[in-house]
């Protein structure tokens, strides 16, 4: 029994190594991109997880019905659409030549099943499902979505680029309950997943899908033709960023998705490498207060926290002082989004310890310690705790900063209990800008009390406005509502924006053609010898 396992393991290793060695020998004939991604791939369900590495995986293996171009406008990808004149019925038609990796054609049934599963998980999807009256398969290539009211949600949702994107799975896989991760890796995307070479947590290999028929339009953002120009993409992870940079410098890898900003001087100015920043892949820092526990159940004390915090220190600690890879931004939905607003900019951007102290005094803050959760094991989050802690302390808060790994933060933030019983007061995290820029999908602004994201703010006006926004299709009206939400979020301190920063991708100079998109995608990329 044990022996069998062992042998199968050996066999697997042998197979893997054969693949790798052929890769080594056949370098001329075959082009391989070796990429160090920001996180290891350990699971293969791109729908139930909001982990960004799974989104990236999804773009390799799966395809989406619609996609956004570099301007953010929804474009057809797998499907084209028509809208009925009353604006209530959307008809989607799958284009020709779509095939899953196992050879089966992609049908409307697959699409509907996939969208159903997705809309159970994704916030935007949930809103869409709530507004929708029905989704019907018309024939193999066609399905319709019907809404009681005219709305633009269908196109926004189906082209959602990040968070959980609505990838199209085969029907069988799509019917898996969301409580159960799928293990199938059959998609219809431009790359095939090499199951044999997959080592969870270590490496994942994607082979060019020779049967993929790209759209004819040129690639633009996530839209347009997904033309694969290499034979193979290997994702690996390196637990130690020094190792990754060393490996980059000695030519062992081609692509480093997120180099720590502090290590940039090692590659900048070196003609063998290019560094690139993709604004759409930027992130927003946010601080979240727990509305259900003292002291932040008191609005005045929440305001003191808002006053205490400022953005520049945090960004300095994350990417280095005066770095071009970060900027302060008072907008809840990000400064690149259509909803960008500079409401209360000064209050948000700069720390105001004196005013915060005054607010605290006014609120009668008793000096009870505020429990700040500090995640230590993620590069982007590690600097946040100390900065927030110090700013709060400077403003007269008593801060009890508890350092833990991200898993513990995630577990503890779910607790609504008082601090003494395992609860919390403050935590911080980051979200990518595409997610942040979507008032419907952005979890940071949901304010439905107990049902909203950890911290559980309860501001009914915000929920009302978000509902209204979802059923609006007029861009100007959308913008107005969005800015209204921004104001309410800040006034109630639903979340506190802490600035935007941009990860930098380092590539070997032979690698060209990466698209400016919301996610790092590998089609259109070329590797010269």
């Amino acid at each position: 029994m044990f022996m069998n396992r062992f042998q199968s393991g050996l066999l697997k290793t042998t197979l893997l190594s054969l693949c790798l060695s052929t890769a080594g020998f056949a370098a001329q004939a075959e082009t391989t991109i070796t990429a160090v991604m920001h996180a290891p791939l350990r699971a293969v369900d791109p729908v139930i997880s909001t982990a960004y590495i799974l989104r990236n995986y999804g773009y390799m293996v799966y395809d989406t019905l619609l996609a956004r171009d570099s301007q953010g406008a929804p474009q057809p990808q797998m499907a084209d659409w028509t809208v009925s004149d009353d604006g209530k019925t959307y008809t989607f038609t799958l284009r020709d030549g779509l095939k899953f990796h196992d050879g089966a054609p992609v049908t409307a049934e697959d699409a509907v099943a996939s969208l159903n599963r997705w809309s159970q998980v994704d916030k935007t999807g949930q809103v869409m499902a709530a507004l929708m009256s029905e989704m019907t398969v018309v024939d193999d290539k066609t399905f319709t979505m019907t809404f009681p009211e005219p709305t633009g949600i269908a196109l926004i949702a189906l082209s959602k680029p990040s968070g959980v994107a609505p990838f199209i799975l085969p029907k069988a896989a799509a019917e898996t309950p969301i409580s159960q991760p799928i293990t199938s890796t059959i998609g219809s995307g431009p790359f095939k997943f090499d199951e044999a070479a997959y080592q969870p947590g270590v490496s994942a290999t994607f082979l060019k899908n020779e049967d993929y028929v790209p759209r004819t339009e040129p690639a633009d953002g996530l839209a347009g033709g997904k033309v694969v120009k290499v034979d193979k993409v290997v994702w690996t992870t390196m637990p130690d960023s020094m190792t990754a940079v060393n490996a980059m410098l000695s030519g062992e890898i081609d692509f480093y998705e997120q180099i720590p900003h502090d290590l940039l001087p090692l590659v900048e100015g070196n003609p063998d490498f290019t560094t690139e920043m993709y604004r759409k892949q930027g992130s927003q820092n946010l601080v979240r207060l727990n509305f259900t526990q003292p002291p932040f159940d008191n609005p005045k004390i929440r305001e003191a926290a808002l006053l205490a915090l400022g953005q520049q220190s945090m960004l300095d600690a994350q990417v280095g002082a005066g770095s071009q890879y970060a900027r302060t931004c008072p907008a809840v939905f990000g400064c690149e989004s259509p909803y960008a607003s500079d409401y209360a900019a000064d209050k948000i951007l700069e720390p105001h310890p004196e005013e915060a102290k005054a607010a605290l005094a006014e609120a009668g803050y008793d000096g009870a310690p505020v429990l700040l959760m500090h995640a230590t094991d993620l590069n982007n989050l590690a600097p946040q705790g100390p900065v927030i802690g110090q700013q709060l302390r400077d403003a007269g808060f008593t801060v009890d900063m508890v350092s833990m790994d991200w898993a513990s933060v995630v577990a503890r933030r779910a607790s609504k209990a008082p601090v003494a019983e395992g609860g919390w007061n403050v935590f911080s995290t980051t979200n990518v800008l595409p997610d942040v820029g979507d008032p419907i999908g952005f979890i940071g602004v949901a304010a439905g009390g107990a049902s909203s994201w950890f911290g559980w703010p309860d501001v009914p006006e915000i929920e009302e406005l978000r509902g209204k926004l979802a059923s609006t299709s007029d861009p100007d009206e959308q913008k107005r509502i969005g800015q209204e939400i921004d104001k309410l979020v800040i006034d109630n301190e639903v979340m506190i924006p802490m600035g935007e920063f941009y990860n930098v991708t380092v590539k070997s100079a032979s690698l060209t053609g990466q698209l400016d998109a919301e996610a790092p995608v590998f089609w259109n990329m070329e590797k010269s010898e």
Binding site: M1, L10, S179, S203, P239, D405, A407
Partner: protein
């Protein structure tokens, strides 16, 4: 002999049972659960609850413990809570690199340390002895990862003799395999060379005071013969012991070395599993290490019999 082995194997069962219980409790009492790690940062509470139920994490602790132990008794190590892959496969995938690294490290450490220790013992009090001893103290006073960084800097980056990182199995060609193992092996073996060399020295010196060494000298045997023929043979038991201890201690260094050199071994697997609260993986790997520990101790005991005819089982 057979009876002895049987007895020792049987006596390992309660030890491993104890390990299983300790590890299980330590893990399950820790905050965080794999459901949140699977569902990602923005999952809803309901979704998490469903996931937990489907993974069996909502059952009473004791029930989970018994289910797990029952499965293990049947040879079923379960599936990884995060990747959904069978744990046995994951572990086997990662076993090769760790095994390779451990074996080369032990070989290098023993091959370097024993001559060093013997020379130091022979030249006791002379400069070479002092040098070896001082070196050995320095050997355990520098953290492994610093040694690793320095070696990478010199031998991979500046001289370009070896790759910076990674692992290739033997089947990818010996050169591929060996070139990537050199630096990690040297890094990891540092403290063990230091440790083993000093134990060899101490024991050889101690043996050199024994009456039978005097007898050997009285026969007219030269010092080199005394050292190699008589002293080393008698110091073998403690040397074997310390080599055994070194192997069982190796894992701490392995975790670090695998991180520094990006070797996809068990150390990294377990570290990642801890961060992701992938209970089944952590439990299995620790149980595996404990089994190896027990097995190594048993082998060491059996080796005693090989080196010392007085020990019979």
């Amino acid at each position: 002999m057979f009876g002895f082995v049987l007895k020792r194997v049987l006596s390992a069962i309660p030890v491993l049972l104890m390990v299983a219980v300790i590890v299980f409790l330590v893990l399950r009492l820790s905050p965080g659960d794999p459901a949140v790690m699977i569902a990602g940062p923005n999952a809803t509470p309901e979704q998490l609850e469903d996931l937990r139920t489907s993974m069996g994490l909502n059952r009473p602790l004791l029930e989970q413990l018994f289910i797990w132990m029952g499965n293990i008794a049947r040879g079923d190590f379960g599936v990884s809570l995060v990747s959904g892959k069978p744990v046995a496969d994951l572990v086997m995938d990662r076993f090769g690199p760790t095994l390779a690294l451990s074996i080369t490290t032990v070989i290098l450490a023993v091959a370097v340390a024993i001559p060093l220790g013997v020379i130091a013992a022979w030249q006791q009090g002379k400069w070479i002895d002092r040098l070896v001893m001082a070196g050995s103290v320095v050997g355990f006073s520098v953290p492994v990862f610093i040694i690793g960084y320095v070696l990478i800097l010199i031998f991979a980056r500046k001289l370009g003799w070896f790759p910076v990182q990674g692992y290739r199995p033997m089947s990818a060609g010996f050169g591929e395999f060996a070139s990537r193992l050199v630096l990690p092996t040297v890094t990891l073996s540092f403290p063990y060379i230091a440790l083993i060399a000093r134990i060899v020295r101490t024991n050889v010196i101690e043996v050199m005071n024994e009456d039978y060494i005097r007898t050997a000298r009285a026969k007219g045997l030269a010092e080199r013969g005394v050292l190699m023929d008589h002293a080393l043979g008698n110091a073998a038991v403690p040397i074997v012991t310390i080599v055994g201890v070194s192997i069982t201690m190796l894992i701490g260094g392995v975790v670090v070395t695998e991180s520094v050199f990006n070797i996809p071994g068990l150390g990294r697997l377990v570290l990642e599993a801890v961060l992701a609260r992938d209970y089944t993986v952590i439990q299995t790997v620790i149980l595996l290490f404990s089994t190896i520990y027990v097995f190594i101790n048993l082998s060491v005991d059996l080796l005693y019999g090989l080196f010392d005819p007085r020990i019979r089982y």
